[in-house]
Amino acid sequence: MSVASALLLIMGCTFLILAALGIVRMPDLYIRMSAASKALTLGVGLLALGLAIHMPDAGVITRAILLIVLFLLKAPVAAHALGRAAYLDGVPLWEATIVDEMRDRDLRTGKANGEVALAAEGQAGEDGSCTPER
C-alpha cells in the first residue's frame, strides 16, 4: 500500500469520526445535520480517493468517481429534505439561534404572512426566542 493511499484512508476515517462526534456533541438537530452531512461527504470522498490510488484500475476508478459524485449529490438533498421535514414537525431550534427566516412565514408555502408578519419581523431579532410557532 502506498503512502498516499494510506494517508487518504486515515484522513477519511478521521472525518467520519468527526461527523459522528458532531452528531453526538452538537446542541441542535439542524446544527448536527450541518456538521454530519459536510464531514461525511468529505470522509467518504477521501476514502474513495484512497481506494482509487490503491488499485489504479479503470473499473475501480470509475466506481470511486461514481461514489464521490453520488455523495456530493445525495448529502445536500437528504439534509434539505430532512431539515424541512423536521422544521415542519416542530423540532425546536437551539436557544442561542439568532436567525430563523421561516419563523414568520407560512410553513407550507414559505411566503410571508402579510402585514402582521412584517410587523413581527421587526422585533424578531431582539427577543431571540426562535422556537417554531405551531
Binding site: I10, A20, I23, V24, L67, L88, D89, V91
Partner: protein, 87 residues
C-alpha cells in the same frame, strides 16, 4: 498495527458514536440522521475492506448501500412531513 486495522478501529468508534445518538436522540429526525450516518459509515467500512482484500467487487455493494441509505432518508423525511401536516 497496520493502516487497515487503524482505519477499522476508527470506523468502529464512529459507528459507536452514531449509535449513541440513535439511542438517545430526542426526536425522530435525530434518529433518522443517526441512521443515515450509520449507513455512510458502513459504506466506509466496505471501502476499507475492499482496500484490505484488494478486491473491487465489494464496491458495488458500497454503491448500492449508499443509494439505499439515501432512499431511506428521503422516505423517512416524507413520512415525518406528512405526519406533521395531519395535525
Amino acid at each position: 498495527m497496520t493502516v487497515i486495522e487503524i482505519c477499522f478501529g476508527m470506523l468502529c468508534l464512529a459507528m459507536f458514536l452514531a449509535f449513541i445518538r440513535l439511542a438517545i436522540g430526542p426526536s425522530t429526525p435525530d434518529r433518522v440522521v443517526a441512521l443515515d450516518l450509520l449507513a455512510v459509515i458502513a459504506v466506509g467500512m466496505i471501502i476499507v475492506y475492499s482496500v484490505a482484500t484488494s478486491l473491487a467487487v465489494f464496491l458495488d455493494a458500497a454503491i448500492v448501500l449508499a443509494l439505499v441509505g439515501f432512499a431511506g432518508t428521503v422516505a423517512f423525511s416524507r413520512y415525518i412531513e406528512r405526519r406533521s401536516g395531519s395535525r
